[in-house]
Subunit: 152 residues, 2 copies
DNA sequence: AAAAATACCATGATATCCCATAAATACCCA
DNA sequence: TGGGTATTTATGGGATATCATGGTATTTTT
């Protein structure tokens, strides 16, 4: 299976269009769909996105819930209500909806960040801040680890 | 199978007409019917709606209940008594009945919210309140989910 | 006849398609 | 290996189609 890797910075034009990085695009196209599935990230000011496999994963998750439970009502509102299947146009671009733009505080540039099974879309500055934080955490963790595991 | 996803805000005009979001409309039309099936949401101040598959589902649900039970009486009153099949006009609009308008406390704008198999129609402010609540609940429940669903 | 429902038409905004261009990348062959 | 050519890719713009929405006319209902 192909993974989403690396990161790419692209511009949003006046009509709101962004090119999906071609590497990512070709993965999305693999299952034949012309859509990019996406939704606001649960714990970051970013957009989570992926292809058919990601959306199927989420649909399956919903299917397992009791149809008439509060749990399902809340989840389906928060997930289905906020997720979108963006059409990929003939030039490989999408138009990100206002709601998602706002959630991720995006202006006229975005960074696509590969996360393996899915990828995220960030406002560039926010992403570099997030990355720094993450790296800091990793270093701290490593200090803890290195006491037990020399040479790592 | 096509699912109802995302949300759309539309206006109600002086004659009481609302456009069904075209994405939703095309799903409704798939089973050939020119109708939108709807009824007052059982546990929210909103309208539940969908196509033929939803109405069939509800019929099936009723069939499974003991014919002479209170449960069936109650449900058939709550659902069938108040459910309607709204004609979709040539421009893709419907007229929502007074009873449903009142149940959902709707004025001159509504939000259509995709929930997968069906969708809901909300008064915008009420929906944003409900959404906040739903997101809060989802975050609380999230630890449970993440153990089973990595990467989500 | 009055009121409601339905069909039909008009318009601005937006999305989609199609083409152009420049930069980046891949490709090829001496 | 290097240097040049072909392809791909990101991005912009104009033309076209679609959509939401308002309005008018016609039909149906009561």
């Amino acid at each position: 299976m192909q993974l989403f890797l690396s990161k790419f910075k692209n511009k949003i034009d006046q009509k709101g269009r962004v090119s999906i990085p071609s590497q990512f695009r070709s993965i999305l196209f693999q299952d034949g769909s012309q859509k990019m599935f996406c939704y606001p990230s649960l714990d970051a000011e970013a957009i989570d996105a992926g292809g058919d496999s990601l959306s199927r994963e989420i649909y399956a998750l919903m299917d397992n819930l009791d149809p008439y439970s509060d749990e399902k009502d809340f989840l389906s509102t928060a997930l289905f209500g906020l997720s979108e299947e963006l059409r990929i146009d003939s030039d490989g671009r999408v138009i990100i909806s206002d709601a998602l733009i706002q959630h991720a505080q995006i202006n006229d540039e975005v960074i696509f960040v590969g996360l393996g099974q899915k990828f995220q879309i960030w406002e560039p500055n926010r992403f570099s801040n997030y990355l720094q934080e993450a790296q800091k955490k990793v270093r701290e963790q490593r200090l803890l680890l290195s006491k037990k595991n020399k040479g790592f």
